[in-house]
Assembly symmetry: C2
Homo-oligomer: 230 residues x 2
């Protein structure tokens, strides 16, 4: 069931937070961290692709994918395409972002996959991919029977929310991990960069909360039973 | 509405994870970090109270408080008392745990409240307290009208879930932050302590997921409409 509030106004707030978060992470990597590059002598530029692509790709575009299905005033079949294409973009950008972290580690002789952030990250992108494939097969093509679809839907929503919450939490872990490294090597704990990174994480968490809240709200037009199961 | 699965079996899994998490954090602080104390020349012993009290208090007892209302086969009025007493214990232990972190910082000349973990932590304990007071007044004493209670219930559940997810996420942030400090000062990235701390965080996240999932499941006896609103 939907909670007794409308989803649409929440999505506007979420879009505003998405823009704020994207601008903040760009200011961080471009102004404070020297820019981004896939090939560079300064290996930090390779790493910088990671926070940008994960936030803008997996979190922001992933969140827009979630909200699109609930809030767009379109026919169900069109919304399905928008939903799965946006999620596909989110996953692809997420994979490139993860590859950038590995590339940076490999070229800088830093161990891979030792931190909680990395373990959760690999788990999350795998679950995200499984969820996408499952959704594609059951709801889009070749499509399960109406019974299978209606029985799977609440699980699709629940598992999707679960993976998305993990992704948002892991983004916060990532910001904190990188900032702790930077503070260990000298940047000021209350300096402008530290505040910017921490507030980017705060904006990310709020964005995630509004995305989830919009899923629980009421769709603008009652043209289908998209989310009626939760 | 409840999802199509029973809550009770999930709560058993959650209890098992709770015990595992409590044992793991105890092994960490007692065996690897030298123990816990409120007054000590070695200020690290004061800090060690923090992860123990936050995990066992706010997260584990808080999670048991959430599950108790759904899963105990008791009368609604009794469950309410169990629910609010367990949450009160969780909040008190949480406050003592936060005080331990401040005490450690103050006595070791470390700045307070510079990290995302600390900001989210203060926000979460405040929201948790507000939620408790609101729940006490509306559902227990003096108690709102039946209309107010039934209209508030889904919001109480939703806001409670929101605060609890933030708390679990913030616990993961805390484990990662502390471990990053320890790794910066020399402990091995793949050593037994690092693995223990990371897996404690993983167990914590799984515990949180099962707590939330149990809220979405079906109550064992249909004696009331406790969670019927979501």
């Amino acid at each position: 069931m939907a909670m007794g509030f409308r989803a649409l106004p929440l999505t506007f707030l979420a879009h505003a937070l998405a823009i704020a978060g994207a601008v903040m992470v760009l200011v961080w990597v471009l102004y404070y961290r020297g820019g981004m590059a896939w090939e560079a002598a300064n290996k930090n530029l390779i790493f910088n692709l990671h926070p940008f692509l994960m936030l803008v790709g997996l979190i922001i575009i992933g969140g827009e994918a979630i909200m699109s299905y609930k809030s767009l005033p379109l026919k169900k079949e069109v919304k399905k395409v928008v939903h799965l294409v946006l999620h596909a973009i989110a996953i692809i950008l997420g994979c490139v972002g993860i590859a950038a972290a590995f590339k940076n580690h490999n070229e800088s002789n830093i161990a891979n996959l030792y931190s909680l952030h990395s373990w959760l990250g690999i788990t999350i992108i795998s679950l995200y991919g499984i969820q996408w494939i499952f959704g594609f097969l059951v709801f889009f093509y070749p499509k399960g029977s109406p019974t299978l679809r209606s029985e799977s839907l609440p699980w699709h929503v629940l598992f999707g929310i679960f993976v998305y919450i993990l992704a948002v939490g892991n983004a916060a872990l990532g910001f904190l991990e990188k900032l702790t490294f930077l503070e260990s090597s000298g940047i000021a704990k209350y300096g402008p960069e530290a505040l910017l990174v921490n507030f980017t994480a705060v904006v990310t968490v709020f964005y995630g909360a509004f995305v989830i809240l919009s899923v629980l709200g009421q769709a603008p037009v009652e043209d289908d039973d998209s989310y009626s199961a939760i």
